[in-house]
């Protein structure tokens, strides 16, 4: 069977190529010419189906990367797109397709189930996979040699976010005694829920409410939560329920002292855009960028230029870093041989990066255990970092302003 020409090169490729050639001509000594030309990277994400919004958001991180890699003197990447269609089986098929079409390295896939499928394909074919976002701990427990993950696992998230939460309390000077805990009933939600109980928080969780991720109506949940009369609200959810919950809280006239989100949703652009002034206040404990790092500023400028109405967030940052890791490994490996790439990946040591923490390096299981989370608070339609101290750029607002007098 003849090899199909590699499918779907990104439009950017031509632009990057000519720009790259020009840059190479100017800065020839500075660029290490890795053998074989650009590295073919298959980026597989949920671009359609119910997770389409996230996949397309991660794509924005891909879009702004190439010029930055160039400016850092890193080799070029040819991006090939894959769509998991938000489905585990399709994820496997399309990962296989990317590899058949010549992908030399894979990046993906956000959703844990789909990422597991892609990881299996990667390991079986001996093609490296760099996980950009995906927190299921089991993926790095399988003894895979070709998979590295630059994103915290659920246990890491729990541990870290707990620590950030305690720091937030100490900045506020208040340790709440009661909390109501709402979470989605899916892999991420239940995993976090179990963990939070296990960490013996300083407050009592007076009510725990689990809801369906596809729920369109959360009025009962909020009524229950309000009736619990707790000081703060903990939540693990996603974008849609973040919006639904907020609206219900406004309508049912309840504002807790603080909303602590341990997952995505409350910092996403759609949330701030749709809710306007009502989006201010919630604190998200989440892997984030360090606003004080040099590369962060570069990334932010590039992002602001291309997407002036949007805020940069976790999806963009971690997808960018995955590409950064790929390019950096390719440069050090000097070849696109998968084993060489895998070895180079495991030896990664990048300190000039964007995410909070000492940098990017992987342990024996392929996990970056140095990643830290931040506490970011919505303010004025943007996110400000209030903790940890070394990455903070604003002061915490506690308690949250009531929803009822914000117009």
């Amino acid at each position: 069977m003849h090899r199909k020409p590699f499918a779907n090169p990104r439009r950017i490729t031509r632009r990057t190529f000519t720009a790259g050639v020009a840059a190479a001509a100017v800065a020839a000594p500075a660029i290490v010419r890795a053998a074989g030309g650009p590295l073919k990277v298959g980026v597989i994400l949920p671009r359609s189906g119910f997770e389409a919004g996230i996949g397309q958001d991660c794509q924005r991180g891909v879009d702004i990367t190439p010029p930055i890699l160039k400016s850092l003197g890193l080799p070029e990447l040819t991006i090939m797109n894959g769509d998991t269609e938000s489905n585990v089986n399709t994820a496997r098929e399309h990962a296989e397709k990317l590899v058949s079409d010549g992908a030399q390295l894979l990046i993906g896939a956000f959703d844990s189930g789909q990422t597991t499928a892609v990881a299996q394909v990667a390991e079986q074919k001996g093609i490296p996979l760099v996980i950009n976002v995906g927190s299921d701990p089991q993926i790095t427990e399988q003894g895979y040699k070709f998979v590295v993950r630059n994103f915290p696992t659920v246990p890491m998230l729990l541990h870290d976010e707990f620590a950030e939460q305690m720091e937030v309390f100490s900045i506020a000077g208040v340790t709440p005694k009661t909390a109501v805990f709402l979470h989605v009933n899916d892999l991420f939600g239940t995993g976090m829920a179990k963990g939070i109980h296990g960490m013996k928080p300083p407050y009592t969780i007076v009510e725990e409410i689990s809801y369906d991720p596809g729920a369109r109506d959360l009025s009962v949940e909020v009524t229950k939560a309000k009736a619990a009369n707790a000081e703060i609200m903990l939540v693990v959810g996603r974008l849609n329920d973040a919006m639904l919950l907020t609206r219900e809280m406004v309508k049912q006239r309840w504002t807790p002292n603080a909303i602590l989100s341990w997952g995505p949703g409350w910092y996403e652009n759609q949330y701030t855009k749709t809710l306007g002034k009502l989006s201010d206040g919630p604190i998200s404990l989440v892997p984030w960028y360090d606003p004080n790092k040099k590369l962060t500023k570069t990334l932010q400028d590039a992002f602001a230029k291309k997407f002036p109405d949007l805020n940069m967030n976790t999806n963009h940052v971690y997808t960018f870093e995955a590409l950064l890791i790929a390019a950096d490994a390719y440069k050090r490996a000097g070849s696109s041989d998968p084993k060489a790439l895998a070895a180079a990946l495991h030896a990664t040591h990048i300190t000039d990066n964007v995410s909070i923490g000492p940098g990017i390096m992987f342990d024996a299981k392929g996990q970056n255990i140095g990643l830290k989370c931040g506490a970011v608070q919505n303010r004025g339609g943007k996110q400000v970092t209030v903790a940890p101290k070394e990455a903070a750029n604003a002061k915490l607002e506690w308690p949250m302003k009531s929803y009822q007098n914000r117009t």
């Binding site: 389409a52 409410i209 109506d217 009736a227 609206r247």
Partner: protein, 290 residues
Amino acid sequence: MSLAVYLNVVVAGVLTGLVYGLMALGLSVIFGVVRIVNFAHGEMMSIAMYIAVVLFAAFHLDPLVMLVPIAAVMFVFGYVLQAGLINPFITRPEHSQFLLVVALALIIVNTLLIIFGPDAQTIQTSYAYDSFQLGPVIVDASKAYAAAAAIVVTVALFAFFRFTLFGKAIRACADNYTGALVIGLDVKRLYALTFGIGAACVGAAGTMMSLITDVTPMLGPAYTLLAFVIVITGGLGSMAGALIGGVLIGLTEAIAGLLFTPSAKTMFSFAILVLVLLLRPQGILGKRTA
């Protein structure tokens, strides 16, 4: 848990249920008369919801005002769909009908995805965040308006079927297909008309629904299933039945959510469906057909 909490939940459940009922009404009409298992029902509603979103974004017209025009547009859509595509399938086996509407649903959902993208769209009316306080009960304003509109539409529909000639003709078709043919009714046209009316109901429901929920391309299938549960529970071909079924399901889900885990509340709806199918398959208000 205090009485106030129960009251709030019950009220919310009833109001939501009324809007669900309106959505199911369209299906009841279609299923009850034309006997097509319309698995594209929720998707048709999402078309109506997107029309509402677009009109709101362009002209700032309140959905309550847009109710009639959108219903009219959906009527035409339904009429054309039935006359053009679905008619030959009435006599075909159920699995063929099923495939037809499943294919339609797939096309609709993904076309909406292509046109509007996956992000949720909302209609932010000036009263989007309002609520009324009646004693211990806080009532969501948008839900209240939507529920009121649902009742109005149902009454209008009821009047249509009771008192107009077309309405009677349609009911005749439903009751006795051969008999209707014998007395010279143009059944094909009446079917198309019925489908159009069903689609108009769905249009009205969608417009109301856009007030209380975000619009994404993927919401179709969940609502289709819900509509079927309600129609069967309430009774095929019965308008009041659809509303009652809607309220029953809305209430069940609300109370189940309150007393047990909210994430399992759909299990209760399905349990009710199974019970109804077994014990009273014609539904609460349906008529037993031969």
